[in-house]
Amino acid sequence: MHIKISVQEAAFDVGDETLELGRVSKQVGAITSFTGLVRDINENAGVSGLFLEHYPGMTEKQIAQIIAEAGERWQVLAVTVIHRVGELLPSEPIVFVGVASLHRGDAFNACEYIIDFLKTRAAFWKKEQSVDGPRWLTTRASDVETAKTWRSTEG
């Protein structure tokens, strides 16, 4: 499996990343991707921006572990995870998860698995700048529940 993990301040290009995933093997038939954007509706506050912090070294290891788990469950040829840190504005892309596989079912499952666990297990912290001032976000209960549903599908 080809794996690319990057935690970076710079923006990423979904088109370039998708093409790169398609080039890893002639066997690639399906590429799925998830792109997360900074939304302005967290907790109904008017968000003017986010500050993203991570734990250099540990974050990348955690992402690699999540990708390895997905690779054990589904047939995956390549995975790219890019997560931005630093200052971000509303509607800016913040995270990209791309999966290349022979078949689309594997690609969809692996992509959703990786983003679901990235949200609950990788060392990133979001600080929201809103009309109410700065505020560290707390983990969404819905994200924790979503991640748990994968556990219940384990064989």
Binding site: Y55, G57, I94, W125, K126, W136
Partner: protein, 83 residues
């Protein structure tokens, strides 16, 4: 010596990115927290004793009974909110 680092709201609450601690003999994460609170007082007690505060030793998540050794990197942080 043990390197102790803080992230996100805990880093801001303590006003500190990292510090170093000299431990006498075998110590658990709980022992380290107790020592830090003795040295620094109520603000540290509040930040490090929150129910949801997480701890990693050498970049692996552990519980407060995990044993710390000289040279380890111990990190305290709140629940993660990435993605």
């Amino acid at each position: 010596m043990v390197k102790v680092i803080f992230f996100a709201s805990i880093r801001e609450d303590l006003g500190l990115n990292e510090t170093e601690v000299a431990l006498d003999g075998p110590s658990t994460v709980a022992d380290l927290v107790k020592l830090l609170v003795e040295c620094h007082g109520a603000k540290w007690s509040e930040a490090l004793s929150r129910e949801n505060t997480l701890v990693a030793v050498n970049q692996t998540m552990v519980d407060d009974q995990h044993t710390i050794h000289a040279g380890d990197e111990v990190a305290f942080f709140p629940p993660v909110t990435g993605g």
